[in-house]
C-alpha cells in the first residue's frame, strides 16, 4: 500500500449504454499510484466494459476520465497508450509463430539507419526490461512453444515496452495453474514496487485477497462500494458482489458408494504431437460418489477425458461402462451408453454458439423422438422441452430463441448442465465446470453435481482448482504425468499432501 495516495486514474460517473441496455451506470473508480486495485463483479456486471472505456475501445455515453488529474478523452487505444495505460486482455493477442521479441516490438519496431529491422537491439531491450521487473522470458522463444503463463508475461512486457504506468489485467488468473498464479503475484508485487499502478479485473476472491490493496465492486452495471481488501472478509466481498449471502462450503450428506460404473484399465493415449500423455491410467468411479480428479494442467487430463468420451483415439487399454467395453467407440455410442459430459471448453465443444438455446438443447438427441420423426424435426416439441428446462434450471434470458453466444458465461454453462443432466446419465463427467464463472453460478454448479450424486449417479469431476476438488468430491484421485499417483478420501485430504502429490512427490 503506497504511503501517499496520489490518484492516477479517476473515472467519474461513467455511463455506457448499448442501445437500451445500460452496461455501466454512473460508475466511479479511483486508482492510486503504486496500488493494486481490483475490480470485482459477476460476469456481465460491467467490469470489462468499464476497462474497455478506459483503454479507448468504447466511448462512454457520459462521464469523465482524469489521468494524473487531467481531464482526458480517450478515443482509441493509441491515445490510451500515450497516457501510459496498458491492457492485458484475457485472451492474448499474440502472433504465435513470432518470437517473444518480435511480438513485443510489433507495431513499434526499431530500425537502423537503412530502415532495416534491428532485432538484436530489440532483444537486448526486452531482456533488460524483463530483468528489471523479474518477468523472466526467453526473448528468442516462439510464442507457440511457451506456456500460457509465459505468454502472459509477454503480454505484460508488451505493455511495459510501450511505457505503461497503469496496467489493466483482465482476468489474469483464469488461464493459469496454481504455480503460475503464485508467480504472477510476485510479478505484480515487483511492478507496484516500481511505482506502477495495476487494475485487476477478477471474480476470484481468494487471489484478490492476496494480490489487491483496494477493491471496487460493481453489481449489475452499478457502483456498489470501494473497500480496503485487508479489512474486508471474503464473505463480505462475495455478498457485495452477488447481493446476497453466498455459501462457500458445499453441503452434502454422507453416502455409501454403490457398484462400479466406469472402469478404466491401463489406458494409453497420445496427444496431437504423438507423444504419449496418458501412460497406463487405472481408475474406477462408483454409483453415488463424486470422484474428483486433481492435477496440474498438462498432466494428460484433457486427453484422458477426450479418450473416455470418444473424441480421441485410445492407443491401448480398456474403458468399461457398466461392464461393457466402450473403448474407441464413437461419441454417439458412448453417449448412448449413458455417459453425459460437461466439456471443459464450453464455447468450443459444449455449444454451437450460433445456434439458439433450443437448438443447443438437442445437440445429442436431435434425431431421437420426440424431437424428430423420420428425419423431420418437430420444432414444437423442441420448444416446449427447452422452455421447461429454461424454467427448471433458471436460464436467463427466458427465451429459447436466443442465440447461445449472446448468453453470459454462467447461463451458457447452465444450458449445458441442463442438457447433460436431463439425459439422465449413469455417469456424469464434469470438466472444469466452473471455469470463468462467478460465485453465484459456481454455487449452482456444485449443487447440481451433488444432486446427481444423491440421485445415485456416478460423477467424475475434473478440475484444476484444488479448492473445488476438495470441496465437492467424495474421493480424490491425483493425476501426474498421465497416471493416477494417489487416491484419497476427500475428508482426510489436505492441501499440502495433495499439492505434493500433484507435483509428483509421494503418494497415499
Amino acid at each position: 500500500m503506497p504511503s501517499k495516495q496520489i490518484p492516477v486514474v479517476e473515472m467519474k460517473n461513467i455511463t455506457k449504454k448499448f442501445g437500451d441496455f445500460t452496461a455501466n451506470n454512473k460508475i466511479n473508480l479511483t486508482v492510486y499510484k503504486g496500488e493494486v486495485h481490483a475490480l470485482l463483479g459477476e460476469n456481465g456486471a460491467g467490469k470489462s466494459t468499464l476497462m474497455n472505456i478506459l483503454y479507448g475501445l468504447y466511448p462512454p455515453t457520459s462521464g469523465e476520465i482524469y489521468i494524473n488529474n487531467k481531464l482526458v478523452e480517450i478515443k482509441n487505444p493509441n491515445i490510451a497508450i500515450q497516457h501510459r495505460i496498458g491492457m492485458v486482455h484475457q485472451h492474448f493477442m499474440l502472433v504465435k509463430p513470432f518470437t517473444v521479441t518480435e511480438n513485443i516490438i510489433l507495431g513499434m519496431e526499431k530500425t537502423n539507419r537503412f530502415g532495416i529491422l534491428d532485432l538484436k537491439k530489440a532483444a537486448a531491450e526486452v531482456k533488460e526490461l524483463s530483468q528489471k521487473y523479474a518477468l523472466l522470458v526467453n526473448p528468442d522463444s516462439r510464442i507457440e512453444d511457451i506456456t500460457v503463463g509465459m505468454q502472459q508475461r509477454v503480454e505484460i512486457l508488451k505493455a511495459l515496452y510501450r511505457g505503461a504506468d497503469i496496467l489493466i489485467l483482465d482476468e489474469p488468473t483464469a488461464v493459469l495453474t496454481p504455480q503460475e498464479i503464485y508467480e504472477l503475484g510476485k510479478i505484480v508485487h515487483n511492478l507496484t514496487n516500481e511505482g506502477k499502478s495495476i487494475i485487476l479485473i477478477s471474480h476470484k476472491l481468494k487471489e484478490l485477497k492476496i494480490m489487491a490493496d483496494r477493491c471496487t465492486i460493481i453489481r449489475r452495471s452499478k457502483y456498489i462500494d470501494t473497500v480496503d481488501v485487508s479489512k474486508t472478509s471474503e464473505e463480505e466481498l462475495a455478498a457485495k458482489m452477488v447481493g446476497r449471502k453466498v455459501s462457500f462450503v458445499v453441503d452434502k450428506e454422507p453416502k455409501t458408494p454403490g457398484e462400479i460404473v466406469l472402469s478404466v484399465k491401463d489406458l494409453m493415449v497420445k496427444d496431437n504431437r504423438g507423444i504419449s500423455v496418458v501412460n497406463g491410467l487405472n481408475l474406477e468411479v462408483r454409483r453415488g460418489e463424486i470422484l474428483g480428479l486433481a492435477g496440474i494442467d498438462g498432466n494428460g487430463q484433457s486427453q484422458f477425458l477426450e479418450a473416455i468420451t470418444g473424441l480421441r483415439k485410445v492407443e491401448s487399454g480398456k474403458i468399461l461402462m457398466n461392464g461393457a467395453d466402450i473403448t474407441n467407440h464413437t461419441p454417439k455410442e458412448i453417449f448412448e451408453s449413458k455417459i453425459s459430459h460437461i466439456p471443459q471448453d464450453r464455447q468450443n465443444r459444449g455449444l454451437v454458439m450460433d445456434f439458439t438455446v433450443a437448438e443447443n438443447m438437442i445437440l445429442e438427441t436431435h434425431s431421437n423422438k420426440p424431437f424428430s420423426k423420420n428425419g423431420v424435426m418437430d420444432h414444437h416439441q423442441i420448444k416446449s422441452f427447452t422452455t421447461k428446462l429454461i424454467e427448471k434450471f433458471d436460464i436467463r434470458p427466458t427465451d429459447e430463441t436466443k442465440i447461445a453466444g449472446t448468453l453470459s458465461g454462467g447461463n451458457q454453462q447452465k444450458v449445458i448442465i441442463a442438457r447433460e443432466v436431463t439425459h439422465d446419465p449413469d455417469l456424469l463427467i464434469a470438466a472444469q465446470p466452473t471455469r470463468g464463472l462467478d460465485v453465484g453460478a459456481i454455487e449452482y454448479v456444485h449443487e447440481s453435481l451433488v444432486k446427481q450424486r444423491d440421485e445415485n449417479k456416478a460423477v467424475l469431476l475434473i478440475s484444476l482448482e484444488l479448492d473445488e476438488v476438495m470441496n465437492v468430491s467424495d474421493r480424490i484421485a491425483v493425476m501426474f504425468e498421465g497416471k493416477i499417483v494417489g487416491l484419497i478420501d476427500a475428508k482426510k485430504a489436505d492441501m499440502e499432501t495433495l499439492g505434493l502429490m500433484m507435483a509428483g512427490g509421494g503418494s497415499a
Binding site: 468450443n348 465443444r349 454451437v352 454458439m353 428425419g375 424435426m377
Partner: protein, 383 residues
C-alpha cells in the same frame, strides 16, 4: 407501419444488401458519367431492356435459372462451412451427362426427362463428393481440390466432344438431346394449329413464349423450397449447420463431422449438376467445346453472397443477376455505352456486400443524424 418496415431490417442483412445494390448502381452511374454518357438514359435503356417486352422478362428468367441453382449449390455448402468453388466443374459434369443421357437413350418423355435429371444429379453429386471425401479423409482443402476438379471437368467435356458418336459432324459441338428430353414449355403445342391460334389471340404470351422459356425456373424455385425445408426442418439440415458453425461441438454432440462434409459437398455438386442439366434440357440442347469456363459456377458465388446464403435470397439474387446480365449489355447498341459497365456494377455490389463493416459505418452515420434531428424536435415540442 414504418416501425414494422424497419423491423424487417432488424438483422440488417436485407438492408445491407439493398444498400450495396444501390451503391453499386450509383457508382456505376458515376463511371458512366465520367465516360461521357448520361447514366439516367443508360439505366433507362437497361430497365427498358429488362421489363420492356414480355420476351425480355422471359429471357431474364432463362438467364437467372442456372445462376439460382449454382448459387444454391454454393450457399448450401457454405452453410456447412465449405467453400464450393467447384460449382463450375459440377455444372459441366451435369450438362455433359444430360447431353449423353438425353441423346443416346430413346425413351418416352415421362421417363426420359426424370432420368436425365437424375443421372446429371448423380454424376455431378459424385463429382462434388470427391472433393468432400478428400477433405474428410485426407484434410485436402476443398477450395484447392474443387478448382482442380473444375479443369478436369472442362477437359473431360472437351475430350468427349471430340469422341466419335458424340460429336456432331462439322462442328465443335455435341449432338443435340432427343426432343423427349427437352423441358421447353409446350414445345409441340406452340407449333400446333390450336396453339398458334391461341397465341395470336394472346399477344403477351405469344411474345413471352418466343424464347426458349422452360420448366427450369420452376424446378429452381422448387429446389430452393426443398433446401429451405432441409436446412430448417430436418435433422440432416440441423447436422449440416452444426458442422458448419462449430465442427468441434458437432463432434462432441455425436455428429459424424466427416460424413456430413461428404454429404454436403455431394448435395452441393448435385445442385450445380442440376443447373447444368436444366441449361442443356431447356436452352442449349447440346454442349460445345469450351475454351474457358463459362462462369455459371463463379457467378453462383456472387449470387450466394448477395443472397446471404439463404434459399430465398439466392432466388432473388439470381433474378437480379440474370436481369443485370441480360438488360445491361443493351446499353451498347442503344447508346454506345460499354456493356462492361454492368459487370463493374455487379462487381461493386459484391464488393460492398463483402464489406458490411463499411455499410454499418454509413448506416451509423445516418442514424446519428436522425438522432440529433429527433432531439431537436423534442425540444421544440417541450418549448
Amino acid at each position: 407501419m414504418i416501425k414494422k418496415f424497419l423491423k424487417l431490417f432488424s438483422n440488417h442483412t436485407l438492408l445491407f444488401t439493398l444498400v450495396s445494390i444501390l451503391l453499386g448502381l450509383i457508382i456505376g452511374a458515376l463511371i458512366l458519367l465520367a465516360a461521357g454518357y448520361n447514366p439516367l438514359q443508360a439505366y433507362g435503356v437497361m430497365i427498358q431492356g429488362i421489363f420492356g417486352k414480355p420476351k425480355y422478362l422471359s429471357y431474364v428468367i432463362i438467364r437467372s435459372t442456372p445462376l439460382i441453382l449454382t448459387g444454391l449449390s454454393i450457399a448450401f455448402a457454405f452453410r456447412t462451412g465449405l467453400f464450393n468453388i467447384g460449382a463450375e466443374g459440377q455444372f459441366i459434369i451435369g450438362s455433359t451427362t444430360a447431353v449423353a443421357v438425353g441423346y443416346f437413350l430413346h425413351l418416352p418423355m415421362i421417363l426420359h426427362i426424370p432420368l436425365v435429371i437424375v443421372c446429371a444429379i448423380f454424376a455431378a453429386g459424385f463429382w462434388g463428393g470427391i472433393a468432400g471425401y478428400f477433405k474428410a479423409r485426407f484434410g485436402v482443402n476443398e477450395v484447392i481440390s474443387t478448382i482442380m476438379l473444375n479443369w478436369v471437368a472442362l477437359y473431360l467435356q472437351n475430350f468427349l466432344i471430340y469422341t466419335h458418336g458424340f460429336q456432331k459432324p462439322g462442328g465443335e459441338v455435341s449432338y443435340s438431346i432427343q426432343p423427349t428430353a427437352s423441358i421447353r414449355f409446350l414445345n409441340e403445342w406452340k407449333l400446333s394449329d390450336e396453339g398458334t391460334q391461341w397465341l395470336i389471340e394472346h399477344p403477351f404470351w405469344r411474345d413471352f413464349f418466343k424464347t426458349p422459356i422452360n420448366w427450369g425456373f420452376l424446378i429452381a424455385i422448387a429446389v430452393a423450397v426443398l433446401l429451405w425445408f432441409i436446412l430448417k426442418h430436418t435433422t440432416l439440415g440441423y447436422r449440416l449447420r452444426a458442422v458448419g458453425f462449430n465442427p468441434n461441438a458437432a463432434e462432441y454432440g455425436g455428429i459424424n463431422v466427416k460424413k456430413n462434409i461428404v454429404i454436403s459437398m455431394t448435395i452441393a455438386g448435385a445442385l450445380s449438376g442440376l443447373a447444368g442439366a436444366v441449361q442443356v434440357m431447356g436452352v442449349s440442347h447440346n454442349v460445345s467445346l469450351l475454351a474457358a469456363m463459362e462462369g455459371y459456377g463463379f457467378d453462383g458465388i456472387a449470387v450466394s453472397l448477395i443472397g446471404s446464403s439463404t434459399p430465398a435470397g439466392c432466388v432473388l439474387a439470381g433474378l437480379l443477376f440474370g436481369a443485370l446480365k441480360y438488360g445491361g449489355p443493351k446499353m451498347q447498341p442503344a447508346m454506345g455505352a460499354p456493356s462492361e459497365i454492368i459487370n463493374i456494377v455487379i462487381g461493386i455490389i459484391v464488393f460492398f456486400i463483402a464489406m458490411p463493416q463499411l455499410i454499418r459505418l454509413l448506416l451509423k452515420f445516418t442514424q446519428k443524424k436522425k438522432e440529433t434531428v429527433t432531439e431537436t424536435v423534442e425540444i421544440d415540442y417541450v418549448g
